[in-house]
């Protein structure tokens, strides 16, 4: 089977894909797995064992030509596209998998010949959609990011039906790069030390922990004889690396701008820990099996955190987290709210130098932080559990309910038995400290149940409306006016459904419903009404699962938490 993976996003996204590529090759070992990627992505997939062939789209060059806006450069862009796409267009692919979520990736999928397609694509009628339910969940999480639950790797693997992806390491450094790295460390007298990598850069300043934070951390760590410190970064971050070294003084090696991707891979594979902002090298470190401490300020670790067990993240518990860099809050307090001494404690604990019970946390409600560690849940999905016993909040409870309900909904009878789920929920609830206000938490869950029930009743009404439309469509000869009127009623009802408190689990359920509706192909009215009925019925079932689990949760909170 000829499989083509489309991944033309950023390098970090390409790096995050590595477990998926390996997973596909494991499940289809006889297949030829090719990747259509950008120039930056090519450096990621080159020499990657699961990749049989790579097609490079010179995206950066194309963008430059198009942005120039002149006729001649636009025609040059066309020429580049023709050259780069030529070899891919000539292949009749068995399966095209688009792991992107942009219009351009969907258009690429559309242009190519394929028997089957997965992921985002576009129809001949110019409708951009993906039929997979997991993609709808992913889009809903984009809108309401505080409800991000699943890692992008898990979302994509479920989208294409992979039962699992290989455990790290999923990529290995080249032997010569490894030799070079070892030689450097020997010369620097670091070969016997616990190496701690630091990545102070990031693609946007909304993702960057202030340099002074890194500097304070390094000054503390370099006092520990067992630690060796390395600064990493791309060529564009050289100045940042120099500034950090300047602030720290001796006792730290600055490798910013000095490493190719292969070199970086080699160094990371030798690191005990990488302390980093949300960056591409974070995923590379996870990919080579190094442990990561990720600092997340405006992006959500659940979605783009390092994939694999035992990683750590620290994030602020501000109400505006995560903002995705929109800066809607106007204050950027998140970047100032992670104290270096907490990061130090977490690092020392991760290195086995400081025992866990000495970890100090600031639980101030306005600017607290949380420390979490990754692991796998009983169903094989990556999840994050607090290591600091931070107080259980309504959001934590909502996310647990959304997660287990979604899995029950999508696994469709293949979930483990109820006692496994109950034991899982108890253990997850037990990982948190007691809620600040237990009664308020219970009241929150009760209110959520009430809203879910209201929402469900409206969905049922909308479903019946769609059923009536369908019945009318099946009668040859008309009733177009009545169909139109029913369609307007349905729109009005859907408008009422959207009037739900944005910061709530029912809002997420509504978003999910909207995404599923938007991803229905708009062909004839009959097909659309039938598919709409299916979506409403599915979401009603999902609501039922949420409501039941919410009621069970009230019992657990009373007796278990």
């Amino acid at each position: 089977m000829n499989i083509l993976i489309i991944q033309v996003l950023r390098m970090g996204d390409a790096l995050q894909l590595l477990p998926l590529v390996q997973g596909i090759k494991e499940v289809f070992p006889q297949s030829r797995v090719s990747i259509l990627t950008s120039t930056l992505g090519a450096s990621v997939f080159e020499n990657q064992p699961g990749v049989d062939e790579m097609f490079v789209l010179r995206k950066e060059a194309l963008v430059k030509c198009v942005r120039d806006g002149k006729r001649e450069t636009t025609i040059s862009a066309l020429h580049i596209l023709e050259q780069d796409l030529g070899p891919v267009l000539s292949v009749e692919w068995d399966w095209i998998i688009n792991f992107g979520y942009t219009f351009s990736s969907a258009l690429l999928s559309y242009l190519l010949q394929a028997r089957h397609r997965s992921g985002y694509s576009v129809t001949g009628r110019r409708q951009f959609l993906a039929k997979e339910a997991w993609f709808a969940h992913f889009l809903a999480s984009f809108v309401l990011r505080q409800y991000s639950i699943f890692n992008w790797v898990d979302v994509n693997r479920k989208m294409i039906g992979l039962p699992r992806v290989p455990a790290p390491p999923v990529t290995h450094p080249q032997p010569d790069a490894l030799s070079r790295a070892r030689a450097f460390l020997q010369n620097a007298g670091l070969e016997e030390r616990k190496l701690i990598g630091l990545h102070p850069g990031a693609s946007g300043d909304h993702k960057r922990w202030p340099l002074e934070g890194f500097a304070r951390l390094c000054r503390e760590l370099k006092r520990r004889e067992e630690c060796g410190l390395l600064i990493f970064g791309g060529p564009g971050e050289k100045e940042l690396g120099m500034r950090l070294r300047g602030l720290v003084g001796d006792g730290i090696q600055d490798l910013t701008g000095e490493t190719t991707l292969e070199d970086l891979k080699a160094y990371l594979s030798l690191c005990t820990l990488l302390v980093t902002n949300d960056t591409g090298p974070m995923h590379l470190a996870a990919g080579v099996g190094a442990r990561v401490l990720g600092l997340f300020f405006s992006t959500h670790f659940a979605e783009t955190g390092p994939y694999g067990p035992g990683h750590l993240v620290i994030h602020p518990t501000l109400p505006c987290f995560p903002c995705q860099g929109t800066g809607a809050c106007g204050h950027r307090r998140c970047l100032e709210s992670v104290p270096p001494d907490i990061v130090r404690d977490v690092v020392l604990n991760a290195l086995g130098i400081q025992p866990h019970d000495r970890m100090r946390m600031d639980h101030d409600a306005e600017a607290g932080v949380r420390v979490l560690m990754s692991g796998y849940d009983p169903w094989g999905y990556l999840e994050w559990a607090p290591v600091d016993r931070s107080a259980l909040t309504l959001l934590d409870v909502e996310k647990l309910l959304l997660k287990t309900s979604w899995l029950a909904y999508t696994e469709n009878g293949n979930m483990p038995e109820a006692p496994v789920e109950k034991s899982y929920l108890l253990s997850r609830l037990g990982a948190f400290g007691p809620p600040g206000d237990k009664e308020a938490l219970r009241a929150g869950v009760l209110e959520m149940i009430r809203r879910l029930q209201e929402q469900r009743a409206m969905m049922e009404k909308a479903c019946l409306g769609s059923l009536e439309i369908q019945s009318l469509c099946l009668k040859p000869g008309g009733e177009a006016a009545r169909i139109k009127a029913l369609g307007q009623d349905l729109e009005k009802l859907e408008g009422e459904m959207s009037l739900v408190d944005k910061d709530s689990a029912p809002a997420f359920v509504h978003e999910l419903l909207c995404m599923m509706r938007e991803n229905l192909e708009r062909k004839d009215t009959l097909g659309l009404s039938t598919a709409t009925i299916g979506v409403y019925r599915g979401m009603m079932r999902f609501s039922d699962l949420m409501i039941k689990r919410s009621r069970d949760m009230l019992d657990l909170l009373s007796h278990g938490a």
């Binding site: 198009v66 242009l111 028997r115 576009v122 009628r125 009878g413 099946l474």
Partner: protein, 432 residues
């Protein structure tokens, strides 16, 4: 590991079959297949060829598929509606049959001998039709039977592709019966087969009366009753009652219809006469899923340890008693339940047994030039992108305005050309 090939999600499949969730027959098999098709991503519907079928009008007869909007009556069906595949289960209108643009597969549900004898005695000439059309229906791409034991019979008639799969059932449809209703003092026998030629419980009713008499005399330490579903008290022909010995009438119960799960849960042993070829009827598959012990009236029934030719009514009765004795031990009884369910899941699980059917569908989709790709339709049909046309389109615009070029390329076309897609790609790449 999951080695399934990806399916052409979104393909539309119409199953022509009568809607009869209450009176059983072909419909439940077709429904299970449609539900599985929907589960894997096909778009499937049942078209009920019985005009104004009362079962569609009666809410008590509405099943999940109907409520999901997936059952269309023939009187409402717009026969210009395109589809990627038509599945013929019981009847297909001539207009659909003659439409060579449609892909067709025929499902052979009935027992070949029944089809023969029906025609022999003046009913529908199905066999003659099959013999005549094979080779002349070019758009009938496959004949499919779910019964391996029917293969040698169909192979004498069907010249083209005959796909033989195994019987199907959705393993979630029936759950394991509980053990809390067992009462060693009461043997509750049950019969659930559909009443038609050879499957009415004639031999069973005769066989159980010896046990009932012995029980009345105190020779057996338990009461024996026979519960017969499928015919109610009000419509049982009087001749059936002539079979019953005087004094035993109270032990025979004609129950009409009930929920199968409830029947399995509240009875002890399922009895079945089985036709001349011991295929596993739906009742048997559902019964095995529930775990209920089954005594079959055919010595070659592979799916149960308890079997005896029911025409030897004393021997058959002895087999029932042997099964009952085995059930007295709680552990052994529960092991029987579990073993039956495991057998059903391993043999009949639709998620496994439907795969060859879907592979057949995929071959048809791949082969057919008339298929309208619905999942992600693309004009990527092998025709090359007209790069020169694109260069010309861009060169003729002084301003190099891509967005305007997209609009001009799209024009009034309902469908997006590949050239338009290329221009849209250039527009979007800087944003991505």
């Amino acid at each position: 590991m999951n080695r399934a090939k990806p399916l052409s999600k979104g393909r539309s499949i119409l199953h022509f079959c009568n809607y009869s969730p209450i009176t059983s027959g072909i419909y439940p098999e077709t429904r299970d297949l449609v539900l599985e098709e929907l589960r894997v991503g096909y778009e499937a519907w049942i078209v009920d060829h019985v005009p104004n079928n009362p079962q569609r009008k009666d809410p008590a007869c509405h099943d999940d598929l109907f409520r999901a909007g997936r059952v269309i009556g023939i009187e409402e069906f717009d026969d210009t509606q395109p589809s990627d595949l038509v599945c013929w289960h019981s009847f297909v209108p001539e207009k659909i049959l003659q439409d060579r643009q449609r892909n067709l597969v025929m499902f052979l549900h009935a027992m070949p001998s029944h089809v023969f004898y029906n025609e022999l005695y003046g009913q529908e000439p199905v066999l003659s039709y099959l013999k005549n059309v094979t080779g002349t229906l070019p758009h009938c791409h496959a004949y499919i039977t779910l019964w391996p034991s029917h293969r040698p019979y169909w192979e004498n008639i069907i010249e083209e592709k005959l796909l033989v799969t195994n019987p199907i059932i959705c393993c979630d449809s029936i759950s394991l019966k509980p053990d809390d209703a067992f009462d060693p003092g009461r043997l509750r026998l049950v019969v659930m087969d559909t009443w038609r030629g050879g499957k009415e419980p004639y031999y069973i009713m005769n066989a159980v009366q010896g046990m009932m008499t012995r029980s009345r005399r105190g020779e057996l330490p338990f009461e024996v009753s026979l519960h017969i579903y499928g015919q109610g008290q009000g419509n049982i022909p009087p001749v059936w009652r002539t079979l019953i010995r005087r004094g035993l009438e109270g032990f025979f119960h004609f129950k009409g219809r009930d929920d199968p799960q409830h029947i399995f849960d509240t009875h002890d042993i399922l009895l079945t006469q089985v036709g001349e070829i011991p295929t596993e009827s739906r009742v048997i598959r559902e019964g095995l899923l529930s775990g209920i012990p089954i005594v079959a009236g055919h010595a070659n029934a592979e799916w149960t340890d308890f079997k005896h030719d029911c025409r030897d009514i004393e021997g058959f009765a002895g087999e029932i008693l042997g099964c009952w004795e085995h059930m007295q031990d709680g552990e052994a009884r529960r092991r029987m339940f579990t073993a039956n369910r495991e057998l059903a899941c391993s043999r009949y699980d639709i998620r496994k047994n439907a795969l060859p059917i879907f592979e057949c569908y995929e071959e048809i989709f791949a082969r057919s030039a008339a298929v309208q790709a619905r999942a992600h339709p693309s004009p990527s049909d092998g025709s090359p992108i007209r790069w020169d046309l694109l260069r010309h389109a861009l060169a003729s615009d002084e301003a190099g305005d891509l967005a305007a070029a997209v609009e001009r390329m799209a024009g009034a076309d309902e469908a997006m050309s590949r050239e338009e897609a290329v221009l849209r790609l250039l527009v979007d790449l800087p944003r991505a």
